[in-house]
């Protein structure tokens, strides 16, 4: 089962800086394991973010995104307490959704 993401959402002025850490192997499909077998491609291909229910960020990713991905989103006109929901889906259809409230920066 996918591990929880770690999300920081800090308000700076009227912009919320959302920074996300994700535990995911982001396998390229070109790596061999210790036994010499090719490890199948396994990577997040969709990353979406909503702000108080409205979509703000729709990311399409490839296997070139680093293992244990780090990404960031900036939302203007945000306020402390606003709800930010982050969801990913990978190419094996594993999914994970986590949410956080915007905090004072």
């Amino acid at each position: 089962m996918a591990e929880p993401m770690k999300i920081r959402a800090l308000l700076k002025g009227d912009v919320a800086d959302i920074r996300v850490l994700v535990a995911h192997s982001m396998e390229t499909g070109q790596r061999r394991d210790a036994a010499g077998n090719l490890v199948a491609a396994h990577f997040i291909h969709s990353m979406t973010v909503t702000h108080n229910g409205k979509p703000v960020y729709d990311g399409q990713w490839s296997q070139a995104v680093s293992r244990n991905p780090v990404f960031a989103v900036r939302i203007k006109g945000a306020r402390v307490g606003d709800k930010v929901v982050v969801s990913w889906t990978d190419n094996k259809n594993d999914k994970r959704t986590d949410e956080v409230s915007v905090a004072a920066g």
């Binding site: 920074r19 850490l21 535990a23 394991d33 210790a34 490890v39 244990n68």
Partner: protein
């Protein structure tokens, strides 16, 4: 990094070796081009994911004895993680040994949870195929001391013995490259290729290395590495035989280095290349 001492050091080398070549072309130093990337990587630390996983592992009932680590005494009393990193390595009466964080966790996982020692040692370092529980636990315990200061003491005779052994080992040259720790870590402002080499004979540099260094998320390894791994890696680069995990030699070096970092404010896990 003190520029004048750096320049002086380079001159000293040049004179000593009688090569005295002129300055490299007047280009910007390579570290200028690296600084931005290092800053950007330090801002978001995937090691924080290891801290959370470590916390889940610490409190979960696991192993043949179906026990958590909440009775594990890391020197602050059973289950107390806050402040534990700051005072390790230290002497433990139950094992009659000086132990660092990894070797103490190993004791707890074997004694309290019933894991086999060799299984924990086999999986001590994570790979791209398998995460390491040890790396997660060390991240959790390390981060629990954030904001505190390193405070390793040498009150027990065995602690003093280990400190001196670590010092001896730090200066001990061996192997096909004639290296000791001090070969690369005895001067300030030096680099192996583009990687800065901390001067481990200087307390102010050691405070940063120990208190903000290991455990650290290593980008090249895509996992958190611990001090035991850092030392293992150094021995590997020195072309020495595998450094035994939790061996007295590794704990002695850690005792020597951590003691010299006393007073350093803890901020873990770190982020490294």
């Amino acid at each position: 990094m003190n520029l004048s001492s750096r320049a002086a050091a380079i001159c000293a080398f040049a004179l000593a070796l009688a090569t005295g070549s002129g300055p490299v072309t007047a280009q910007s130093k390579p570290e200028d081009g690296l600084a931005l990337g290092r800053k950007m990587l330090a801002e978001d630390n995937p090691g924080d994911l290891w801290v959370e996983r470590g916390q889940r592992l610490f409190t979960a009932k696991r192993g043949p004895k179906n026990a958590s680590l909440e009775k594990c005494d890391l020197g602050m009393g059973p289950g107390v993680v806050k402040g534990a990193f700051a005072q390790l390595p230290r002497y433990f009466a139950d094992t009659d040994k000086v132990q660092d964080l990894e070797s103490r966790l190993l004791t707890c996982m074997v004694e309290l949870q019933g894991f086999k020692r060799e299984d924990i040692i086999r999986t001590r370092f994570g790979t791209l195929d398998r995460d390491s529980d040890m790396e997660a636990l060390v991240s959790y315990v390390g981060a629990a001391s954030n904001g505190l200061r390193m405070n390793v003491r040498l009150t027990h005779a065995k602690e003093r013995e280990m400190y001196k052994a670590g010092e001896y080992a730090f200066y001990r040259r061996s192997g096909p490259l004639d290296f000791a720790c001090v070969t690369c870590h005895g001067e300030s402002g030096k680099r192996i290729r583009l990687q800065d080499l901390p001067n481990m004979t200087k307390a102010e540099e050691m405070r940063e290395v120990v208190a903000t260094g290991w455990p650290a998320y290593r980008g090249t390894h895509s996992t958190v590495r611990t001090m035991q791994h850092r030392l293992y890696d150094c021995f590997w680069q020195m072309r020495l035989p595998d450094l035994g995990f939790a061996s007295d030699l590794s704990v002695a070096l850690t005792a020597y280095l951590n003691y010299s970092a006393n007073g350093g404010e803890i901020k873990l896990p770190g982020v490294r290349r």
